[in-house]
C-alpha cells in the first residue's frame, strides 16, 4: 500500500521551529567536532582562526566557526592520501563513491563518500522526490550521462528507494531518449532546465510531434536556477504538459532544497539535514530578515567522509516572508537560487545579475529558449551584447520585439543592451550546466 502522507518524514518536516533549531544546533556541534577531530584540513582551519569546537555553545557563537571554500578543498586535496588529501575524515578504504565538481571555477574538487554517505544522499533526495509527488507508481526516466559528476545519480537511487521504476537513459542521444520515453510511457523526468527545453525542441524538430504528447507528468530540474525563473518554468511546463519542480544541490553539499506540490515560489530548505545561512556578500554579516539578498552558506550535518561545514557556496538567495501552505515548517528560499555572487558584477556602474536577463528573455513568447550574454569593453565603456533567437513566426515583427525586449531589460536591470537576433537553433545547446554568461572585460 502506498502511504498517503505528503511528507517523506512528518516528524522532521513539520517539526515546530524551536525544536528544529535545537536539533540543528546539536547536529552542528556534532559535525564541527567531527571535522576537527577527523580532518587535518578542518583542524588547521580552526586552529589558525583560534577556534575550538568547545566554543560553539549557542547560535550566537556560529560566526566563530570559520567558513570553508572550494579553494580550501583544492589545497587540502593536493596532499596525501590521493585524491582527497587532508580533507578526508575517514580511512580511505571506507570510501565507496567518487564524484567531482564540474571545474567551471577552477580545478575540480574531488568528493568522496562512504556507503553511509551514499545512503544519506539518496535519503535527502527521497525528501525531494516525495514532496514533488513521486510515488511507486511512477516510471522515472533519467536522461543524463552517468559519469563522474554527481548530477542525478542520487535522484536515481532515491527514486528506487521510494519504489519507483527507474530507467537509466545514460548514453542514448536525445532522439533515442525521447523514443524510449515514448516506448516505455515514462511518467517523470529529471534534468537541467536547459536540457528539458532542448529535448522538447528536438522532439518537435526531429520526431515531428510535441513533447507534451509523451505523457510526462512531472519534471524535476536541477543544476541551474532556471526552474525557479517563472518564464523558464512556464516554458518547460507548457512544452512537456508537465508539472515542473525546482531542486537545489551541490556535489560538496548534497541535495539540500526542494519545491513541494504547493509551489511556494521558491524552495524549501531541508533544515533537518542542512543548515542554510544567508550572509552579506561583502561583510559576511548574517541576514535573517526576509527579502534581503545574501550569499548562501551551507552545512551538511550528517555526511561523514568529507563534510562541508559552513561552506561558502557563492550562490545568492533570500528568505521568503511567508511559510508555505503545505504544512512543512522548513523555511523557504524565495525564487530558489538567485544567481552567483561571482557573477554579480558591476556593468556601467550598475550591479548586474545575469539571471534577471533570463527572466526577461524567457517571458517573451516571440523568442526561442536559448540566449547568450557577453559583457565586453569598448574603449572605456562596458558593453553588454544579448544574443537571442527570434521565432520564425515573428520575423515580420522584429523591430517591435526588439523595442519590447529593450524596454523590459531596462525595466528589470536598469541597463541598455546591444541586441542581436540570431536564426532559431543557431545558439549553443547544452545537456548539463549551460554557460550563457561571458564576461570578456580585461579585468574579468
Amino acid at each position: 500500500m502506498i502511504p498517503t502522507t505528503p511528507y517523506w518524514n512528518p516528524l522532521l518536516e513539520t517539526m515546530p521551529r524551536e525544536k528544529l533549531s535545537e536539533l540543528q544546533l546539536a547536529k552542528l556541534k556534532r559535525v564541527v567536532r567531527w571535522g576537527y577531530e577527523r580532518s587535518k584540513l578542518y583542524r588547521r582551519l580552526y586552529e589558525e582562526a583560534g577556534f575550538h569546537p568547545e566554543e560553539l555553545k549557542g547560535w550566537e557563537d556560529i560566526a566563530k566557526v570559520p567558513m570553508i571554500s572550494k579553494e580550501h578543498y583544492r589545497q587540502a586535496q593536493a596532499k596525501e592520501p590521493w585524491p582527497y588529501g587532508e580533507a578526508l575524515c575517514v580511512p580511505l578504504e571506507e570510501v565507496t563513491e567518487y564524484h567531482q565538481t564540474s571545474g567551471t571555477t577552477g580545478q575540480p574538487v574531488y568528493q568522496p563518500d562512504t556507503w553511509q554517505d551514499w545512503e544519506w544522499w539518496s535519503e535527502c533526495w527521497s525528501y525531494i522526490l516525495w514532496a514533488m509527488g513521486f510515488r511507486p507508481t511512477d516510471r522515472v526516466f533519467l536522461p543524463f550521462g552517468y559519469n563522474v559528476f554527481v548530477a542525478f545519480w542520487a535522484g536515481h537511487y532515491a527514486a528506487e528507494k521510494l519504489g519507483c521504476e527507474v530507467v537509466a537513459g545514460g548514453i542514448l542521444n536525445t532522439e533515442e531518449r525521447l523514443l524510449k520515453i515514448k516506448e516505455l510511457r515514462a511518467t517523470a523526468l529529471m534534468g537541467t532546465p536547459t536540457y528539458m527545453l532542448n529535448m522538447a525542441e528536438t522532439c518537435q524538430k526531429k520526431l515531428g510531434f510535441p513533447a507534451r504528447e509523451l505523457g510526462i507528468k512531472k519534471i524535476i530540474c536541477a543544476g541551474e536556477p532556471g526552474a525557479s525563473v517563472e518564464g523558464t518554468k512556464k516554458r518547460i511546463g507548457e512544452a512537456w504538459g508537465a508539472e515542473v519542480f525546482d531542486h537545489v544541490g551541490a556535489t560538496e553539499v548534497g541535495g539540500w532544497a526542494y519545491e513541494c506540490t504547493h509551489h511556494p515560489g521558491g524552495v524549501h530548505v531541508n533544515e533537518a539535514m542542512f543548515l542554510v545561512e544567508l550572509v552579506d556578500v561583502q561583510t559576511n554579516a548574517p541576514i535573517e530578515e526576509p527579502g534581503k539578498m545574501g550569499k548562501i552558506v551551507l552545512t551538511a550535518f550528517d555526511r561523514q567522509a568529507q563534510p562541508c561545514i559552513r561552506f561558502d557556496t557563492k550562490d545568492l538567495g533570500m528568505w521568503a516572508e511567508d511559510q508555505c501552505t503545505c504544512g512543512r515548517t522548513f523555511a523557504v528560499l524565495k525564487g530558489g537560487v538567485l544567481g552567483r555572487a561571482d557573477h554579480l558584477t558591476k556593468v556601467k556602474g550598475v550591479l548586474f545579475s545575469p539571471l534577471a536577463v533570463e527572466e526577461v528573455v524567457r517571458a517573451l513568447p516571440e523568442l526561442g529558449d536559448e540566449y547568450e550574454l557577453v559583457v565586453t569593453k569598448k574603449g572605456e565603456v562596458d558593453e553588454i551584447i544579448l544574443k537571442v533567437e527570434l521565432l520564425p513566426a515573428y520575423e515580420a515583427q522584429k523591430e517591435r520585439v526588439r523595442e519590447e525586449l529593450a524596454r523590459q531589460l531596462r525595466l528589470k536591470t536598469n541597463l541598455n543592451y546591444l541586441l542581436e537576433f540570431h536564426p532559431p537553433g543557431s545558439l549553443p545547446r547544452y545537456e548539463q550546466k549551460a554557460k550563457r554568461f561571458k564576461d570578456l572585460r580585461p579585468h574579468a
Binding site: 518524514n9 516528524l11 522532521l12 517539526m15 525544536k19 535545537e22 536539533l23 546539536a26 547536529k27 556534532r30 559535525v31 567531527w34 562512504t114 556507503w115 553511509q116 551514499w118 545512503e119 544519506w120 535519503e123 533537518a272 539535514m273 550528517d302 561523514q304
Partner: protein, 67 residues
C-alpha cells in the same frame, strides 16, 4: 506529541543496530560482513529520521554520534 508507536520504532531501530554490529563481529565471511555494513548504513538513516527527531521532541539533550 509524536505517534506513541514511534517509541517502539526507535527501540527496534536500536535493536537492529545492535544485531547488525554483532553480525559483523561474528564471522569474517565477506558476504556477511559487507551486508551487515550496508544494513548499518540504512539503520543510520532510520536513526536520523526517527531516534534523533524523537530525542529532540522529547527534550533529550544529547544526540547520537555522527556515523
Amino acid at each position: 506529541m509524536p505517534d506513541p508507536n514511534l517509541k517502539e520504532a526507535a527501540s527496534l531501530i536500536q535493536n537492529l543496530r545492535a544485531a547488525a554490529i554483532r553480525l559483523r563481529e561474528l564471522t569474517e565471511i565477506p558476504a556477511v560482513v559487507r551486508n551487515a555494513e550496508r544494513i548499518l548504513a540504512s539503520v543510520r538513516m532510520l536513526e536520523l529520521n526517527v531516534n534523533e527527531a524523537l530525542a529532540v521532541l522529547e527534550g533529550e539533550e544529547s544526540l547520537a554520534r555522527v556515523g
